[in-house]
Subunit: 334 residues, 2 copies
């Protein structure tokens, strides 16, 4: 595979430069913390539980693009595909703590888990309450009985959406933790890749995939999925994916769900809409009601071609928080 | 170049299937007109000037993704990269006319111009007032003294945004036409491509570009730009593009502008943010104030890699209409 041509300057500076670009795009609503790869809202509310998200860079708009009104208060950002360091997470924690503690919310990866846990200890040692919710929505990454080994993928968006709303409404870390955990536990996702993205520093692809093959369940960094198969049409592909999602929770007749069709980098809106058409047909047949549909690029792996499907089962409480408007660069809801 | 692997079913059905997927994603807000490739809002207001947009498919979310609250009322959609036919446009016109006439708003391409003009005649013959605004924002596509030969690219979004707001506020076709024309005349864009998209029906790329080259000013369907050059870093590339945009209007010190950084298909949000950083540096140096920034995938050419920069100069009236919230699948503003 030939090297990708990226619109960048020095490949080593992609993270600071993208964060600066994001700050500029926020028009004063977001600032960078001095000397570290972290962004926070410029206006933080006293007495609010802080919502701190983060993870490796290269998946934009995830994570820093989800800082905003009724969304996250700040993001700790690592290098490309690498967890943020504990000291960065701890610095953001201190800024976000307004006396009610801070919720850590991130994808379930070994490096992130380790570094956020160390930061949580540093915070506790400094008298800051921290609770943690790890997102593990990817049903392809481990069997149900090892759910805590699953990776976090696009389901991050819905968990952040819910957590953002509840953290504005409830000034109680336990309560924010409870509702956010429920959202996490009600979400299932699955992705598929048809072509690799590339690493900015080298231009090399994150994995190799033959021209006529597709990998079902491939992870956000090119981690192996459940099967590598010959390329197939959209409908049978969606059928396979949605079946694995539905049986996992399981989603049942009369359930109400939010649906996310997420582009992993270079899959077109045309394709995502064709996927959405099929998902609706299947859910309608199963009498699962779609409450809202979100389609676009939210959780990416550079220019990887492929998409993921995410379902979040609603109850009255989650619906109430889902309905809050949200205003961030990467996700808006009216 | 190898063939693209698209997530589609029968390549001949991509347009009806994507339109159906979009209708499903609208949750009852948008419907398809029976037997033709056209979408309209399900709730049309009596006494409102209709806003009809449209063009070739394959550029999603443009055009049908911009139907919504304070956005367009309907879209006439052609095959991939082909203008909608006059009869389709005329059918949508009849649905959108609520006694105050219909504004046609589309990109300036020969096929679209011809077909929309024929439809406008059919409408007039049937007693429906029609006015037309063609978007010609692409400064790379013709010199200033041939501005009416220029192509419409991502600037379409800002024109639709303004027209959507004014068409809700003013029940007078002349007035909607006047403000929309002013928005169009205040907008300049320029794009760049580093890799081709592909045509769904064949999987073939829309053009060939050597591995180490970039085409500045390339059009949305692979039309030739102003120069083909060796790949360069983001900053000098942006410098070249923004200079050509600024001198064309020209944008001047103390002007206030809206800025759009548009992905043409597979350029990452990481790259768009790095571009945004540089655009801000340049505009700040020139004392041009950025009122708002929009970053994402709005006007695409399948999975083409590249981006465009658009500036819209504001005045009090345009700012007022820009500030209206907007709610469509492809563009939201709170």
């Amino acid at each position: 595979m030939k090297k990708a041509k990226k619109i960048i300057n020095n490949p080593r500076n992609v993270v600071p430069e993208l964060l600066e670009g994001l700050v500029k795009a926020s028009h004063g609503k977001i600032k960078k913390l001095e000397g570290i790869s972290a962004l926070v809202k410029t206006q933080l509310s006293e007495g609010k539980v802080g919502l701190l998200i983060g993870g490796g860079s290269g998946h934009e708009p995830l994570f820093p693009g989800f800082i905003g009104e009724n969304m996250a208060d700040g993001a700790a950002c690592g290098h490309i595909f690498a967890a943020p360091t504990p000291d960065v997470i701890f610095e953001v924690t201190k800024v976000l703590d307004k006396g009610k503690g801070v919720l850590y919310l991130y994808g379930n990866y070994a490096g992130d888990n380790l570094n956020f846990d160390i930061a949580a200890e540093m915070a506790q040692d400094n008298g800051i309450d921290v609770k943690t919710v790890r997102v593990w929505d990817d049903v392809a990454s481990a069997p149900f009985d090892k759910i805590k080994d699953r990776r976090g993928i696009a389901g991050d968006l819905f968990v952040i959406k819910i957590a953002g709303a509840v953290s504005v409404e409830k000034d109680n870390l336990e309560e924010v933790f409870r509702v956010t955990t429920k959202a996490r536990d009600n979400i299932r996702s699955m992705g598929v890749s048809v072509a690799a993205g590339s690493i900015p520093e080298t231009g090399e692809p994150t994995f190799e995939l033959p021209d006529d093959e597709i990998e079902i369940g491939m992870g956000l960094h090119g981690e192996p999925g459940v099967s590598r198969e010959k390329m197939i049409a959209a409908n049978p592909l969606v059928d396979k994916m949605i079946e694995k999602i539905i049986i996992d929770l399981p989603f049942k007749q009369d359930d109400e769900v939010c649906l996310l069709i997420n582009d992993l980098g270079s899959t077109t809106m045309m394709e995502l809409l064709i996927v959405n058409r099929r998902v609706f047909q299947i859910l309608q047949n199963k009498k699962i009601k779609v409450y809202d549909t979100v389609i676009g690029s939210f959780c990416t792996c550079q220019e990887m071609a492929g998409f993921s499907i995410t379902l979040m089962k609603l109850d009255d409480e989650l619906t109430q928080y889902y309905n809050y408007p949200a205003n961030s660069i990467g996700f808006k809801k009216l």
